[in-house]
Amino acid sequence: MSEPARLRSSAPAVEVKLPLTQVLKIAQEYVNSGRIQDAQELLRAAIRAAPRDPEALHQAGIVAFQKGELEHAAELIELAIAVRPDASLYLRNICSIYERLGRYDEAVAAGARAVQLDPLDSNAMHNLSVVHQRLLRLDEALGYARRAITLDPASASPHLALAELLLLRGEMAEGLAEYEWRFRVPEARRHLPDIDRPQWDGAPLPEGSLLLIADQGFGDVLQFLRYLPWVAERCPRLVLACGPELRRLVEHNYPDLPVFDRWDARPSFAAFCPLSGLPRLHATRLATIPAKIPYIAAEPIKASAWSARLQTMLPHGYRRVGIVWSGREHPPNRSISLASLAPIAALEDICLVSLQMARAQDEVAGYFGCAPLLALGHEIADFTDTAAILANLDLVVTIDTAVAHLAGAMGKPAWIMLPYSPDWRWLLEREDSPWYPTARLFRQPAPGQWEPVVACIATALSAGQAMRAT
């Protein structure tokens, strides 16, 4: 590339000319050092100078993707593909972007073409596997995941994809084995600190203490706390490292278990194990999921304080329905908006109690539904509050997030709204969950379709369907 790009430095009078290839290299260096904004500006200048240069367009698309500007990213890479329709790299990347945008047909087409052009590209195989998983075409998804692993056995992402596919189908043995790759995917490296002790193998550890690490999200921690009694039978000396949000709830429910929430406060230990590793060590199968429910209870003092408060703040004689509609960005596709719960909000004789935390709780400001809504996000200090509130509700309607697990662990009725392609622990098709007997699952009938889910819940609610607690 010899065509020079005209660059404007901050002083508008000065123009520096550099070859485009060099500009792209600098932009890549910016990206590598986390200077996304600078990279984007540089690439914009490059595209102004060379509007049809596919490399510049593609690179700008990747940068836009990293900034979360998915639509824009797709547009840029589409332009690059228009110039160079046989670049498998572009096709492989746009496959992933389309997938994130929920444009699955286009994603499948691009991914298939990428794989066709470069049958040895493990990443393209993986991307295509992910798209098929979103469409619940599990045979195809498994096939591509396995081919990706064959092509690059040391790459963690296809292994984790395979694990999730197998677990989703209930194939626990192989699934849990593959699930061990989860700490090796690039995005997950920071989930565990560097530890100079061995990872526990499940064998009895009568002497030294075992450090359990509450890894993954809050929901995972709540789900896997059920293994504590089983672990304690093998390792009498346990300690748990977990976040401050969960610490008090764990301490209340496991009073003999020392808990700490700062890594530098850890006691000495002989071995460690992430909580999410326990199902494999326990050799859990669908039929042997430990489900001694409830294994989490609210603090009685807090529960009665919230009982009194809710008695005052909520209409009498109305069913109390907790709601949570948004979670962290990952996993994708699981969050909805409060507004999309409108059919539930239109019901008589129920009142809504929002347990929503973080930015999404701002949405209550625009709620004008018929059912009274009490938003408690600002009054929830940690999960002991959430548990104490749940203890006083008839039901919680929630997306796949920590509150679903907490309600399930407490044996409270939880109606869980799931995306078409759910997280592995919710399995396929069934309305119930072997993990949580009081959970009822409401699944999207097709990707992206929340309306039928909400409509089903509204129908079930208005029919006054049993909201049995254990």
Partner: protein, 622 residues
Amino acid sequence: MSVPIPMVRPNDRPRDPDRCACGSGLRHARCCGLDLDEWPPAAQAEHLPPLVERAIQALRAGGGEAAETLCVAVLELAPTSLDALRLLYQIRKTGGLRQASEALIRRVVALAPNDVGAALELGLLLMDTGRLAEAEIHARNSVRLAPDIAQAHNLLAMVLTEAHKPQFGEHHYRMALRLSGTRDPILLANLAWNLKNQGRMAEARQLYEESAALSPDVPQTLLGWARLEEADRNFEAAARVLDRAETRFPSDARFKLTRAVLLGRQHRYEEALAVLATIASRNGESGLAAHELLEKGALLDRIGRPDEAFAAFEAGKRQGREIGGNRYYAQEAELLIGRLKAFFTAGRLSILPRARVLAEAPQPIFILGFPRSGTTLVEQILSAHPRIAAGDELPIIGEITATLPRLFESPLSYPDALAELWMADHADGLDELRDYYLRKVRQLGVMQKVGASRFTDKMPLNETHLGLIALLFPEAPLIHVIRHPLDVVLSTFSHDLTHGFFCAYELETVARHYLLVMDLVEHYRREMTLRYLPVRYETIIDDQEASVRRMLAFIGESFDQNCLNFHENHRYARTASYAQVAEKLYDRSRFRYRRYLRHLEPVVPMLRPIIERLGYTVDEVP
């Protein structure tokens, strides 16, 4: 809130650029530009009093111009000469120059704070221009200065009656009667009006009868009496009083307006319009006054002539702006709302205390909403319940925002003065404010209803202070009445209202204030846990029983059939909606905007986002 009102009154004399804009006739530097610190009251040349004396004599002899010239001359030399100021005030007042009169009498009050006469004049002037909070300050001051003068109590009583505190007003009317030592017919009529505002119709009627017997030719008395009968749905009696008044005062337009209102309530719209037409023809070019125009618009609306109705509303509001000098205090509104948003944040609210709930005290229910949203209807429905008393538009929250800095000994104003709650000696300040509120409620006689344990406070725009209310009464139900924004804006524009920083004088300023307040409510809802229930006016019309059941459940009371027959609730609502809530539910006000869409075009774009957020649409007439 107190806002200075600059009057725009066309001066009939050619403008002198040096003269003060207020119209006093003085130079600006000797009038509104005067620094009183540089001109202490004592700084008067000794030779000037004779000039003032000459001016007084000139005025008595009918030489207004000469008197005026003399006063201006004296004030040029000694701008703080009280006698000259008082005299020029009289001249300007007689000449109808309100802005000048106000500037002059304010100067007298500032220079002579113990002058009861001046305090009374200023209080009256402020009351007449709707600035009740400030009027109350001067009226109270005149009672302090002269507790034995009947006029002082009379003024305070008038202000309190207008300011939604008729129970306090009654106290002062009775004081005035006692001090005057006679059954003064004017005082009797004033007290009658006060009692009418408390819904004590029979007592009021008796007093009007007594007053009219003593002094049959006082138009104000007959006017008040006629309006009492009209409000009490005693239409024939009202007509009789009007007949009697009109034989005595055939050219008094106020009786014609009242007649038109009366005919309107009897659904005799064409006749009502004909009565208004006689006022217009008599007035010639100047046509109808603001109130008459608004009534004309309301009548035209009822007979399905929206374009003419809107033209009448517009003309009425134009008069309110041009002659009344009313305008929206946009900057003040934005400043206050900005400060409220900056103060009431989740972070601060999580560490601010809340007032303790007193289980044994009467429990408030706050009915919130923009004026003309249906708050009166909701109060009328709820107060038909045996356990709920009607508090009406209680001015107490507004008063608390004004007195809070003083109570908290704070150098800051509301809301920032709430920062005193961090101080050891004001840590229980919210309990103190809660008690202040409950004490006023008690004094206002709100809880007279036997068996009631709750009461409503439906002061419109109390939602501006939602944060403060939730600090004082963290468990009180907050019922926010929502109505199609275009209906709210249209209805506010077609009524004479001063709520909301005088926003009601232009369509666009109503919309602007509506947006500011709705945005503020959303802010509060984002930042704090509230026991908040939005209730749609339209839903109450569509499905009254379901709405009533929901509201009562939300409040924590059992359902009561009386709430469905609220129009039989014989309580008289003081506000502009009184005639409407005495009828069964009707749906002619629902989506009224559709027939006015053409006229509402200027505000549709700015309101569209909130219309959609509230779940409404903008529709043409079906």
